[in-house]
Amino acid sequence: MSDFLIHVISVSCIYGILALSLNLQAGFTGLMNFGLIAMFGCGVYGAGLVHRFGLPVALGPALALILAVLMGLFLARLGRRLSTDYWGIATLSIAEIARIFATNLEPLTGGAQGISGLPLLFSGLRPWDGAARLALFAVILGVAWLICERLVRSNFGLGMKLIREEPQLARALGYDIDRIRSTVMVIASVIAAVAGVLYAHYLSFVGPELLLAPETFLIWAMVIIGGIANNRGVIAGAFAMQFMMAYVPFVKDYFALPSDFVAAARLMLSGGVILGFLLLRPQGIFPERVGGRHDH
């Protein structure tokens, strides 16, 4: 039982990091990124490619970060002339294009068969490897949270929120919108890619299935439930969503329900919970703190 619990918390930590990344973009800066999974993909494929070509594992994060910075800059530049909603659609298509590349660039990415056999983190520490991974993930989640908190409380963070609320006013006050957007996208992309590297070495498999669009919407659901533009909230949202998903099979066993219940229940949970929150509590469990403290 405890092994399963450790697993669910570990994966929740990874999703927590992803939720923080999305929150920086969508929550604080108003950048409706529907292609977050591509940034995550930079991480998983960074780790995967390094393994595939027999390079040292330590190069994985480095490659992931390079890919992530490029992806962040590309998405930020792409959006300069588009309004937010059109930009959101563009990000969705970029993510799909990335997935199709991963499926078809067989000599490079291993194609649909993916890359398997990535080294599992701390596998030498058995039977404590699960706990060691959890500790690492929790520390990285903590660091990501600190970075995000400091960022949104700084002057730069004020600029981010101003862009979200009143882009014209921000421009009139002399904020360089393009620069702020690019910076946010790069930081968020790097955070998502870190989650990707951790995930790749946790699952020990990298494949195009990891980059499917519904995964982005799962992260959106976490952000909406937890409370958009609240860093603590989105982490709580990630944990709540992961636990709900992971515990559905137990409900099935307990009530001896048919096995297809699990799939239906998960779909209803992610869809229903988003709808419920949007209608009844759009601010999420932990609403944004307006006028909070700022460090200058």
């Binding site: 399963f4 649909a112 993916g114 494949g207 992971a246 515990y247 099979p249 799939a263």
Partner: protein
């Protein structure tokens, strides 16, 4: 936050309060939702029939055999979630799974890392071989099936063929392996077209294949894709040349008779000598086989039960050595003899050459 912790604690308690297990329990991770849900359901049927058969004959170790099914949703992470639950909470003796290679591989690697026996009932990608020591395949991998197909195609005198396969782990494996075997035997693949499954038309792909002027078209396709592809090939006049389908049962039921006149192909032979399984399936589900995979899932379950019986307990190391022993000796199920090589992969399995007659498939030697 406090409230949420309480809710989580309550669900944890609920989960640990599961009824005590007197039965012999094994786990199955199958795609019961998502794009492969039909295949997964067919696998589940095969397992159910095997369980009924085993329990009718007195169960395993004197106890009834129980299978806990978990849905993978066709997502690797969900499959591993499910396996973790089966292993660490339900304490299953072994895990059967999954359907597509892209999920079977990470699932198997997780099980290998935990030292849990893994039986692969369906995935045929060559990469399955590398999963690890405690993973075993109850199905011949692509290298076996495509070699059979390549030989069959060449024997019919078609030296230049165009290959069409769906762009996933299975399709890429088939296309690569078929091409390698075909070239080795002296044939030439004029073009290999990887199409995306689920399209509303395949005219572009078909015309691209036609432009290379092959002697014949070799393809593999899932249900609705195959039906549409055959219809469009007919409409484009491409059926003047022969068509050869690898694993023809996957789409035969979805292809109307008028669009598949003269179609030939091959598939795994799941009714080798014994028709009792076919009869049991038809009686239980009121229809003929939906795919070739129920038979494999069925045999995998029989194989699992037999190894636990031999091991004398559900103790994992004992079960593992019993699998190795039975695999070396050979075990006969409805899909023929299951004999494993040094890597724990099925060495050989019977295939059948099939041709379409009206709407039905008949043996064609």
């Amino acid at each position: 936050m406090k409230k949420m912790i309480r809710v989580l604690a309550a669900t944890s308690v609920l989960a640990t309060a599961l009824p005590a297990q007197a039965d012999v329990v094994i786990g199955a991770v199958l795609p019961l939702s998502g794009v492969n849900a039909n295949g997964g359901e067919d696998q589940r049927r095969g397992i159910e029939l095997a369980v009924a058969q085993i329990n009718e004959a007195g169960g395993v170790l004197g106890e009834p055999l129980k299978v806990i099914y978990e849905d993978s949703g066709n997502v690797p992470q969900r499959a591993i979630d499910a396996a973790r639950k089966l292993v660490s909470v339900d304490g299953v003796a072994l895990v059967i799974g999954e359907y597509s290679s892209g999920i079977t591989i990470p699932l198997g690697q997780y099980l290998v890392a935990e030292g849990v026996p893994h039986l692969n009932p369906a995935s045929t990608s060559g990469l399955v071989r590398g999963i690890g020591a405690t993973s075993f395949s109850m199905v011949g991998l692509d290298n076996v099936s495509t070699e059979f197909a390549a030989k069959d195609v060449l024997d019919r005198g078609w030296k230049r063929v165009a290959v069409l396969a769906m762009n996933n782990a299975f399709g890429q494996g088939v296309a690569n392996e078929f091409g390698a075997h075909f070239a080795q035997l002296g044939g030439e693949v004029t073009t290999t077209i990887m199409y995306t499954s689920g399209q509303t038309t395949y005219r572009r792909e078909l015309q691209q294949a036609e432009s290379t002027e092959p002697d014949a078209y070799v393809f593999t396709a899932y249900g609705a894709d195959g039906g549409l592809m055959m219809q469009e090939a007919y409409e484009l006049g491409l059926q003047e040349d022969p068509w050869y389908s690898i694993l023809i049962t996957m789409h035969n039921a979805d292809t109307p008779a008028e669009f598949k006149t003269g179609l030939i192909g091959m598939d795994v032979d799941y009714t080798a000598d014994d028709t009792s399984y076919k009869a049991a399936y038809e009686e239980a589900y009121g229809q003929s086989f939906q795919s070739a995979w129920s038979g494999y899932a069925h045999d995998t379950t029989l194989f699992a039960a037999e190894t636990i019986e031999r091991a004398g307990s559900t103790d994992r190391p004992a079960v593992l050595s019993a699998i190795a022993e039975l695999g070396a000796e050979g075990f006969t199920g409805v899909t023929g003899e299951i004999k494993l090589d040094a890597d724990g992969q099925r060495m050989w399995q019977p295939y059948q050459k099939l041709k379409v007659e009206g709407d039905a498939l008949v043996s064609h030697e």
